[in-house]
């Protein structure tokens, strides 16, 4: 399978009468975008805004982040199985408005947090302070059932990304990246001496606000499935996860999954990247055991010498992570885990409650309880009341001048467990 990603570098965004890219500046037809989204009769109102890196803007509560793209060659247009018919993605050519992002905002339940600060201290902790963001704030019609509400907002974000992505259709990209991986036997024949490596990607799949979809299929219903990495890089996986702000995998991070990209970078050099296993995280223990066994069996069938496992979320998925690790190591498959930790506000707590002696190689993506101090914003996109939710965790979290303290767990992508961000913990 061969996929070309044509990156069109975006250096600014503005509103205009039509949607196009010129000299790296993305112009978005705001009225057209709103009208297009409102074709969904479940949507009552849409506010579209722009947040640029460095502006004193806070976006809250963020639901999802999506990269605007367009398919220019081959099948797999849009988000297959979700916004368009299911066709094979992961091949041909896709143009990406690199540096731009659609950020959906909207309360589905009152306790969502998910903050992106575009400037200052907060900006350091989220990768989405560096993107030019088109924010899409969705209000739905009265009386919508909560599952339908979530779906409406989820689809609106994807459709907005598609609408804006069209601007890249006729533009010559600034760079073209090629991702090519043949069949397993073919690659192994090419690199007989390189260790075969699989990527095990765990996904939150536990119900409302806690879901992930592959080709539109709710991953809660699947057994662990083998996927070609290109499929994920080409819109096959989308996020329906509105909680776990710091360590959820946004749709944008599926589209640009850093583990896949970094394994690709070593393919044919230090290792033979054999594929991705998509693993649902269940709430029941028997579900967790079934998934762990099934995953390890797939890894053995595919002849893996090593595996990288990334987690999504915190709490019950920690059990899945360690079970999978233990069983992989027992099967003599070298395993590296990526996860975040909770060492308490002061960093003095034992980081893990669950432990496994087999987890000898772990990448820590930071302490979810690390406290950050965020100065007041000049402009808030979304629901300012969510700031109270975010800061409401303990007394004295908001100072008189509006400066507030919050734990990293409220910041989008801060402790990304696919290792998307450059944060860690070290013992001092």
């Amino acid at each position: 399978m061969k996929l070309e990603i044509g990156r069109i570098h975006i250096k600014d965004i503005q509103f205009g009468d039509s949607t196009f890219v010129e000299d790296g500046v993305l112009t978005v037809d705001k009225a057209g975008l709103i009208a297009s989204l409102k074709e969904d009769e479940r949507i009552k109102d849409v506010q579209v805004d722009i947040a640029r890196p460095g502006e004193k803007v806070r976006i809250i509560p963020v639901k999802d982040v999506i990269e605007p793209r367009v398919k220019v060659e081959g099948t797999g247009a849009g988000f297959p199985g979700v916004t368009s018919k299911t066709t094979q993605c992961g091949q041909g050519r896709t143009h990406v408005l690199y540096g731009a992002a659609v950020v959906t905002v909207g309360d589905i339940v009152g306790f969502q947090e998910g903050v992106i600060d575009m400037w200052g201290e907060g900006a350091k902790w989220t990768p989405f302070s560096k993107t030019y963001n088109v924010t899409v704030d969705i209000q739905v019609v009265e009386g919508l059932e909560v599952h339908t509400h979530e779906e409406t907002v989820r689809l609106a974000g994807l459709r907005a990304a598609e609408f804006i992505g069209q601007a890249g259709k006729e533009v010559e990209p600034d760079e073209v990246l090629t991702y090519e991986l043949g069949g397993m036997f073919e690659e192994t024949a090419k690199y007989p001496n390189l260790p075969k490596v699989l990527y095990v990607e765990m996904m939150i799949t536990q119900g409302l606000l806690h879901d992930t979809y592959i080709y539109g299929v709710n991953a809660q219903t699947i057994l662990p499935s083998v996927m070609h990495p290109n499929e994920e890089l080409d819109n096959a996986v989308i996020s329906g996860n509105c909680v776990a702000a710091c360590d959820k995998i946004t749709t944008y991070q599926h589209q640009n999954n850093s583990v896949i990209l970094d394994l690709y970078a070593q393919h044919g050099k230090e290792l033979n990247f054999t594929g991705v296993i998509m693993v649902p995280e269940h709430t029941t223990l028997s579900g967790k055991l079934r998934v762990a066994d099934y995953t390890v069996k797939l890894a053995k069938m595919l002849g893996a010498d090593g595996v990288i496992v990334s987690e999504e979320g915190y709490g019950n998925p920690d059990s899945d992570l360690l079970m999978i690790c233990k069983k992989l190591e027992d099967a003599k498959i070298k395993t590296v885990l990526i996860t975040d930790e909770c060492a308490g506000r002061d960093g003095l707590s034992q980081p893990l409650a669950d432990t496994a002696a087999e987890a000898v190689a772990v990448v820590s993506t930071g302490n979810v309880s690390h406290v950050v101090t965020l100065p007041p914003a000049e402009k808030v996109i979304g629901n300012p009341e969510s700031i109270a939710v975010l800061a409401g965790g303990w007394k004295g979290a908001v100072l008189e001048d509006g400066t507030m303290m919050c734990e990293l767990n409220a910041v989008i992508g801060a402790t990304s467990e696919i290792g998307y961000h450059n944060v860690t913990c070290r013992l001092y």
């Binding site: 583990v259 290792l271 090593g306 707590s349 980081p351 190689a361 944060v423 860690t424």
Partner: protein
């Protein structure tokens, strides 16, 4: 006024050149200037700081009179108002380490003055203070003095100037147990890929989240017939006969004792009491059977539930006792019990 920073130094009777074990009972005294290792320490400061005074205190005195000793030390610190307090290095000396640890904790927590000490990683004093003070990792004996002092001096110098310390491995101190959240040059996924490649190549790699290591002991098989078994009691609760004939330390025990109880139906107060320095012993002293349940075992023996109570009970003090000493005691006691044909042991802790 000199622009050098001021250091107050703490040493025990031995390093303070007063004497050996015979002087371990000396109460703390403050001498102006530098004594013992304080001299080498000041040299290692390379003129940036000076030792303005040295407190010398006997190890036994400190551990047996902790409150008074700390009061004296804290008062001296207040009077001399140093920029840094330095104690030791205590290497693997348990009582000296406990003294350094306790004073380091008190000075850092109560007076907010930085403290540097030095110990061997297994010294029980490490856990007392490592999250509050900086403990330089030293060798297990005074042979490591020459290496310890420059490391302690470098850290004291940084602390006096308010410079943030680098990673524990680089500075040579024992990690304080704080998980710091930091930015890294490489993103997490790249670190994961590199870690995996290192594993493939058999190269050294460092996990970013070490799992806690527990010493696992397989339980012995169950006793098949209790009514024929000989049962012994062993405690780390510091129960000793009146007068503590073997001089078992109240903390950081260096030895264990065994006492014949074959003729007794229980441990009577005040014939037995606890010498333990780490818990409120009032209830143990009121009725020592609360820690060493000899009375109940004798009842069991009479009722035929167990075959026999072993003639001797074994005792030591758990508080501050180093892991290596505890392992040694356990092995020695275990061997005796085995030779005596004991079938089962009840271990009581406090």
């Amino acid at each position: 006024m000199s622009d050098k920073f001021k250091v107050l130094y703490y040493v025990n009777q031995f390093f303070g050149q007063v004497g050996g074990e015979d002087k371990a009972g000396m109460s703390p005294e403050h001498r102006p200037g530098k004594v013992g290792p304080a001299m080498g320490f000041e040299g290692a400061l390379k003129g940036e700081g000076e030792v303005v005074g040295t407190i010398i205190c006997g190890d036994n005195y400190f551990n047996e009179n902790k409150e008074e000793s700390l009061k004296f030390i804290l008062n001296t610190v207040k009077e001399t108002s140093p920029d840094v307090v330095v104690a030791g290095p205590a290497f693997n000396a348990g009582r000296y380490g406990m003294a350094c640890g306790e004073l380091a904790k008190a000075v850092a927590a109560e007076l907010k003055i930085p403290v540097v000490t030095g110990m061997y990683v297994e010294n029980p004093g490490v856990d007392v203070c490592k999250d509050k003070a900086i403990v330089v990792s030293t060798a297990d004996s005074a042979a490591g003095m020459r290496k310890a002092l420059p490391a302690m001096a470098a850290i004291a110098s940084k602390l006096a100037k308010g410079i943030e310390l680098d990673e524990p491995e680089k500075e040579g101190y024992i990690p304080q147990g704080i998980r710091k959240t930091l930015f890294t040059e490489k993103r997490g996924s790249q670190r994961a890929v590199e870690m995996l490649i290192a594993r493939f190549k058999g190269e050294e790699f460092e996990t970013e989240m070490p799992m806690p290591v527990f010493d696992q002991v397989d339980p012995a098989p169950a006793i098949k017939d209790l009514s024929k078994a000989t049962i012994a009691v062993c405690t780390s609760g510091g129960i000793v006969p009146e007068g503590n004939p073997d001089g078992i330390q109240s903390a950081s025990a260096q030895k264990w004792g065994k006492y014949d109880v074959s003729g007794m139906n229980g441990l009577n107060a005040p014939d037995f009491y606890s010498t333990h320095g780490g818990y409120d012993t009032a209830y143990a002293n009121e009725n020592p059977n609360r820690v060493v349940p000899l009375d109940l075992l004798k009842d069991f023996e009479k009722e035929g539930i167990i075959g026999k109570v072993h003639d001797w009970f074994y005792t030591t003090t758990g508080t501050g006792t180093s892991v290596s000493n505890a392992q040694k005691f356990g092995t020695e006691i275990g061997k005796e019990l085995l030779n005596a044909g004991v079938d089962g042991v009840i271990l009581t802790s406090t």
